[in-house]
């Protein structure tokens, strides 16, 4: 049975790693806070069932990565509905502002959720492709092709915008 102390310890040890991923993967402060919270709630739910087959850090990484991808995919699915609400002036247009509040991350917004995560894991977190494939439960070939495509898109964006 997991105690509050267990969860607090897990939180203290892993919050920085989780925040590092979250703060680069989504761009708005509110989104980051929501996602960070969602990840730790999922960790809390799953901690009692953690069997220790992999390292705890790997397990937490996997939850963080998959929760983040699902979070962005879910947002994208409801984008049309938000647009509709804005058109009918049910919600303010500002709520839809999708530009990053950290300008350096803007080019990453051009990548789809999988590409963005693969690129961040490979280039920023320095994870090996095999590890990424395992974390995201994707075939190695898919990871390679997504990373290649993500690099191409990002290089174009960086060249287009010059000094970011």
């Amino acid at each position: 049975m997991m105690t509050k102390q267990d969860f607090d310890q897990v939180y203290a040890e892993h919050k920085d790693n989780v925040w590092r991923i979250v703060s680069r993967y989504v761009f708005l402060t509110q989104d980051r806070e929501d996602l960070f919270q969602e990840i730790f709630i999922n960790i809390h739910k799953g901690l009692g069932h953690f069997k220790g087959k992999s390292a705890l850090s790997t397990w937490i990484y996997r939850i963080a990565v998959n929760t983040a991808i699902n979070h962005v995919k879910k947002q994208n699915r409801y984008k049309w509905f938000k647009n509709l609400l804005t058109n009918f002036r049910v919600i303010e247009a500002e709520e839809l502002k999708e530009e990053s509040d950290v300008s350096v991350l803007k080019p990453l917004a051009r990548l789809n959720p999988d590409q963005r995560m693969i690129l961040l894991l490979a280039e920023v977190e320095d994870k090996k492709l095999g590890e990424i494939a395992e974390l995201m439960k994707l075939p190695l070939g898919t990871v390679k092709s997504n990373l290649h495509r993500a690099r191409e898109i990002l290089k174009k964006e960086v060249n287009k915008h010059g000094e970011i």
């Binding site: 969860f7 939180y11 919050k15 925040w19 703060s23 680069r24 980051r32 806070e33 960070f36 919270q37 730790f40 709630i41 809390h44 950290v102 350096v104 991350l105 080019p107 990453l108 961040l120 280039e123 920023v124 690099r151 990002l154 290089k155 960086v158 060249n159 010059g162 970011i164």
Partner: protein, 92 residues
């Protein structure tokens, strides 16, 4: 170093501050909150029983016997005997 590599370095060095107290308070509130499963189940059963008994006792002719609703009504009115228009209809 190319532009792309310089860009990746910038992302690596990026340090976005977060309001830990605010987030932690939200996480604690959500992880502590437990759903009152038994109370909800009991309330559900009670509500269903109330709805069923209301339907059974008040709407039985409409729900269980829809064949002669109108004639039932007319004959009921006739039995009461104090409706001039209906008594005319039936005596004629």
């Amino acid at each position: 170093m190319g532009k792309y590599e310089a860009y990746i370095e910038k992302i690596k060095k990026l340090d976005v501050k977060f309001n830990e107290h605010k987030i932690l308070a939200k996480i604690e509130a959500k992880t502590k909150a437990h759903r009152p499963v038994f109370q909800l189940a009991f309330a559900g059963v009670l509500l269903t029983a109330l709805i069923f008994s209301f339907v059974y006792f008040n709407m039985r002719p409409f729900v269980f016997d829809s064949q002669s609703t109108l004639s039932d009504y007319l004959f009921q009115q006739e039995e009461s005997g104090d409706n001039a228009v209906l008594s005319y209809v039936f005596t004629e």
